[in-house]
């Protein structure tokens, strides 16, 4: 029954990610980021992507370092207690990429607009900040129904493709997330194409019995790729936590050296070997 959407990472990225796309990235900060998919985007040399994520970390920084990004929409891009995101910071300070200044609500509401098919959503926030000075696509207005409330109109965000990493998926495209969902479910709903990478491939029957079932349902998924440790060096609950040593390594290395060692022409197995192999896996396993 059903058509299998299982494919290789190379095939999924080359088929469904085009230069100039608006790419939604799931997860949050150092948690459950689709980093293997981002490394593949760098390997394939995709260009002029607009990256949209709720809270970004090392994956956004890598894509910028890899020259794939022309614009970022995120409420925060940083390396948590490890410091600032170096490529993100450098690229903005040098005027090399565009930033759409975002808050948490502007991302969450922008995505909500997309599935409600409305051009904007109102928010009783952002008013009084300097956001309107740097965003000509947001506007303060008075409640048209007459309450007198001042509101901020925040525009729709459409995604061409969503990259989401989950612990469990079936080949039909049902994805199950253990733990926090963040905006992954909204992204899957609205993206024209959704690529799910997963730790473990299971059957539809298993998805039915997992808590939360298919938070990412098959009807919105185009590709499923099995990539164990696919969100390393970020976490994937309940399998592993983020890899603090790899993040430190990333911050100490010149990005081009990092790219040579960990990204260019590296299979997932070669990547994990370079990243410390068995010892690293034992370090991060929960």
């Amino acid at each position: 029954m059903g058509t299998s959407k299982l494919m290789s990472l190379e095939e999924a990225i080359s088929t469904f990610v085009q230069d100039g796309d608006v790419v939604g990235i799931g997860g949050l900060s150092f948690w459950r980021k689709p980093v293997s998919a981002c490394r593949e985007i760098i390997r394939q040399g995709k260009k002029n992507l607009t990256i949209c994520t709720f809270v970004g970390g090392i994956e956004v920084d890598m894509l910028i370092g890899g020259g794939c990004v022309s614009e970022v929409k995120a409420s925060f891009v940083g390396m948590e207690v490890f410091g600032m995101a170096p490529n993100y910071r450098k690229a903005i300070e040098a005027g090399q990429i565009k930033v759409s200044e975002e808050s948490e609500a502007s991302i969450a509401l922008g995505l909500k607009c997309s599935y409600l098919k409305v051009p904007f959503m109102p928010l009783k926030g952002i008013i009084g900040t300097d956001f309107p000075k740097v965003r000509d696509d947001i506007k303060q207005f008075e409640d048209p129904l007459g309450s007198g409330t001042q509101l901020m109109a925040l525009p729709k965000i459409d995604l061409d493709v969503a990259l989401l990493h989950v612990p469990y998926a079936d080949e039909l495209g049902n994805g199950n997330i253990a733990g926090a969902v963040w905006l992954d479910d909204d992204m899957a709903k609205i993206a024209k194409k959704t690529i799910i990478t997963c730790e473990k491939l299971v059957e539809l029957e298993d998805i039915k019995h997992l808590p939360g079932k298919a938070q990412l349902p098959m009807q919105t998924t185009q590709a499923v790729v099995k990539v164990p440790f696919g969100s390393h060096p970020t976490s994937c609950y309940p399998n592993y936590t983020f890899d603090p040593k790899h993040i430190q390594t990333y911050l100490k290395m010149n990005f081009n050296d990092y790219k040579q060692k960990f990204i260019s022409k590296k299979s997932q197995a070669q990547y994990l070997e370079e990243a410390g192999g068995v010892q690293t896996i034992l370090n991060v396993l929960l």
Partner: protein, 295 residues
Amino acid sequence: MERMTEYSKDYTADEILTVLMAREVKNDDVMIVGVATPMVWAAFTLAKLTHAPEAIYHYIMGNTFVYEPRQVSLLYLEMNTARAYRFQNSGECTLESLPSDTLTTIEFFRPAQVDQFGNTNNICIGDWEKPKIRFPGCAGIADFSMFYKRGTFLYTTRHDTKTFVTSDKVNFISGVGFPDGKPSICGGSGPQCMITNLAYLDFDDSTKRMRVGSIHPGIDIEEIKSSTGFELLIPEGLKETEPPTIKEIKALREKADPIGIRKLEILAGSEREDFLNDIIEKELAMEMKFPKLIK
């Protein structure tokens, strides 16, 4: 036997900050734990262990509501959020639950710049178009700072003239204080306090300007004045900050944050890096990865 409150004699700078933040928590609060703020997590856990046992954690990293207190952790925060009694997706969290009239929320923001009216900047230094320094961003501060019924709570581990600047020097307002000395039209209570390594600052009821609420033991008022880029209101009969009690310090050191992860917010340079490496080694060596449940 009745005894007078006994105060700690050996508390450190990170400890007085954490204790003062904990004291702001009320028993019916939802405590918002943001990204990369171990000191806030330590303060909230300390509050749970001392005077606010019913307070609820809301972890932004999980968008989860969690009831039980666990030891502060660097690597295993997500394990803690997986012990939630309710999950929300980020849309629900941002748009529905937090700015509600039935929850009293407490959230601490750590600004890169703050002016005399509590307006804050977490975006950039210099012109936004081509900044000298670009910061990670303001996350939800732009959404909530004008909203919270209980107001917002500010802290900094570095009370200096880079952080405390006059309104014209704030490069980007990403958190709303009292715009032009008036409450926000969005209905929130505005900034309630700014807790620093030198003083507890609050806001004057009529002018909404920042004033010295109390001065930490051993700190000179002149140091506070020279470390602030605008004129602080200084009330007559300036009070001294109530120091951390022995009980608070014991709960913080032995239960809430024994590894001392909160110190990452106060250390700098190679000292910080060495300490970070030490925390990582200690936590990687743990067999049980769930942050320790505190009973």
